[in-house]
């Protein structure tokens, strides 16, 4: 396959089609609507299921129903719509079902705006619904990564019987850049043995998220926790740049991570020993590698398109051993490389002057 100019939302949709998604349910919301529109054409062409639901609440519950039948199923939305999906996501988690959900994040809270943001980090990574669980969360920083991570999302969902969320932002969804799509996978014809396909020649299957007795509910929760432990061990993904000799480690994901890379490269050109750590999985957060890097660097600078949410995971991973600074923009404002470079410069200067007696610079933009 050759590279072609692709819009992020359409690239994600086509990647899902090529990963063999059999059913898509969604509701229009900017800045992800092109994804739904692409599905409305492609899924029908391929004689697969496309349905525009009456709400995001209905869409995620349609996903729940389709997931019960053991097919690859997905929905997509943006922040306010993703909030409405919390109920269904929790039931899907409580029923041990796989599905893929794309959140093209926008400015909030409330109706907010339609501009790029990373303000859903807490909502997505902490549980995405009530109860004790985490979805797997993948964070692309380019159209190509959006394609690759969408493909991976379906594989991980099936492998772990788990919810996988592709956490993009409005920038990834809306921009066009050259990218290469994978070849078309064939749709699976076999159904897992737990699927609701009619009790023909077997005992009935039932799917529910309901345990009246505390001990049974706890046992089910323990099963989830065991799986999460396995995922935490096996699936921490990240990309690192210039970490061999860096003194300041910038940490950023998605669009913020990509913009931070430009700033890091300029800082390198200016002789500053700066590296970048870019998580690809937001849950499980790549804490093992970040913890190792903690021993090698003097400080971290977290860059986000939010008031600072992933920074809490960075603090946990670095365990209070090094200062953790922050630079972020909110409400749909995209940080420019120059702003990040300035934050990097300020932090580097403090590192050199203070020689270990560093005071963290929280929110240098305030």
């Amino acid at each position: 396959m050759a590279k072609e100019m692709l819009k992020g939302n359409i690239a994600i949709a086509e990647a899902a089609v090529r990963a063999g998604v059999e059913a898509y349910f969604g509701y229009p919301i900017t800045p992800q609507t092109e994804l739904l529109e692409h599905m409305s054409r492609r899924m029908v062409e391929l004689q697969r299921v496309f349905l525009q639901a009456e709400s995001e609440v209905a869409a995620i519950n349609m996903v729940y129903g389709a997931a019960c039948t053991g097919v690859r199923v997905m929905t997509s939305s943006s922040s306010p719509g993703f909030s409405l999906m919390q109920e269904g996501l929790s039931y899907i988690a409580g029923s041990d079902l796989p599905c893929v959900v794309v959140d093209v994040m926008r400015g909030g809270p409330g109706l907010g705006n339609i501009l790029p943001s990373q303000g859903d980090y807490f909502q997505i990574t902490r549980s995405a619904g009530h109860g004790d669980y985490h979805p797997i969360v993948l964070a692309p920083s380019s159209v190509q990564e959006a394609i690759d991570l969408t493909t991976l999302a379906f594989d991980l969902a099936d492998q772990y019987r788990h919810i996988v969320i592709v956490a993009a932002d409005g920038l990834i969804g809306q921009m066009m850049e050259p990218a290469e799509l994978p070849p078309m996978q064939s749709v699976r014809t076999n159904r897992p043995d737990w699927a609701l396909t009619g009790a023909d020649g077997r005992q009935p299957n039932s799917i529910a998220s309901f345990y009246l007795k505390a001990e049974e509910e706890e046992a089910f929760n323990q099963k989830i926790q065991n799986r999460l432990h396995e995922i935490r061990d096996a699936e921490q993904r990240f990309i690192e740049y210039y970490t061999d000799d860096c003194e300041l480690l910038v940490v950023g994901y998605g669009s913020a991570g990509r913009i931070a890379l430009s700033a890091v490269e300029t800082a390198r050109d200016n002789g500053m020993k700066v590296g970048l750590f870019r998580p690809l999985t937001l849950w499980p957060f790549p804490e093992k590698r970040l913890s190792e890097l903690t021993d090698m660097v003097g400080a971290c600078l977290v860059v986000e398109m939010s008031a600072g949410q992933m920074i809490e995971d960075v603090r946990l991973a670095t365990g209070g051993q090094i200062p953790v600074g922050f630079y972020g923009r909110m409400g749909g404002v995209i940080p420019m490389p120059d702003e990040i470079l300035q934050a990097i410069t300020t932090h580097c200067r403090q590192l050199k002057h203070c020689e270990g007696a560093f005071t963290p610079l929280e929110r240098v933009n305030s």
């Binding site: 009456e54 349609m62 389709a66 039948t69 269904g88």
Partner: protein, 259 residues
């Protein structure tokens, strides 16, 4: 569980439908959920559908319906059974998909989902059990509670100035073009139970023939939360509920009449 050994001169006249699971239910004595379950199971047996049916249970007293029927089943979020059923059905259009929902589930929290499933002409069947009260949570006012009806959340009687009027779902859904068979029946006596069974059979045939959305509303009793003896509760259906929710065929398209 009762077992019966038949000798050569005996004839079996009554047994558990194959589509009902051999288990105890959580329903109160005198509750007509059991009758509704049995009618649905008999209809599924008679049409030979058990092996290709998926039942979507609601939140409410019938939350365990997916365990009480001897067939594939799942348990939806409160009110979302029609959306979940849509997901199941769209992927497997050759299967039979049935939602079983109470009045709080269907007419309050799930109003949007049932209206749009009907509007889309979703080829599913809904069994709507209307007993004018929230049973599982202990007898609160429902969207179908009658004016003046005392419940634990309308202790002075439902005040229509403050809380409005009962929702008549069969009438409401019958205005939608996607709905092809919408009827209301009652479970308060034998004659009406027989009519209810016939309606359920028709509703399932509508789905078998891909004719669109079908619903059978069943007026049902809740002796526990109405504070009545079981027999009194059946009289209460007849004397109080039927005047507010008239029995009848609210939507039967021409093609259904010839089934």
């Amino acid at each position: 569980m009762m077992t019966t050994t038949l000798n050569e001169t005996s004839t079996l006249v009554y047994e558990r439908p194959h589509s009902l699971a051999a288990c105890n239910t959580n329903y109160c004595p005198g509750c007509t959920h059991g009758v509704a379950h049995r009618l649905l199971a008999e209809a599924i047996d008679e049409l030979g559908l058990r092996e290709r049916t998926i039942l979507v249970a609601p939140v409410g007293c019938s939350v365990f319906a997916y365990k009480y029927f001897n067939m594939d089943g799942c348990e939806a979020a409160h009110g979302r059974a029609p959306a979940m059923a849509t997901g199941v059905k769209r992927v497997q259009p050759d299967k039979m998909v049935i939602t079983y929902q109470g009045d709080g589930d269907l007419a309050s929290i799930g109003m949007a989902e049932i209206v749009h499933a009907a509007a889309r002409g979703e080829n599913i069947t809904t069994i709507f059990v209307n007993n004018a009260i929230y049973g599982m949570t202990g007898g609160q006012m429902a969207p179908t509670s009658l004016p003046g009806q005392k419940t634990t959340s309308s202790p002075f009687g439902r005040d229509t100035i403050l809380t409005g009027y009962p929702v008549r779902m069969s009438e409401l859904l019958s205005t939608l073009d996607g709905a092809t068979y919408i009827v209301r029946r009652s479970l308060h006596d034998i004659a009406n139970i027989r009519k209810a069974k016939k309606a359920i059979l028709t509703a399932l045939k509508v789905q078998m023939n891909g004719m669109g959305f079908s619903m059978v509303e069943l007026l049902s009793s809740c002796p526990t939360n109405w504070g009545l003896e079981p027999v009194e509760a059946l009289h209460w259906i007849e004397n109080n509920m039927i005047p507010a929710f008239p029995l009848g065929d609210y939507k039967v398209i021409e093609e259904v009449r010839s089934l």
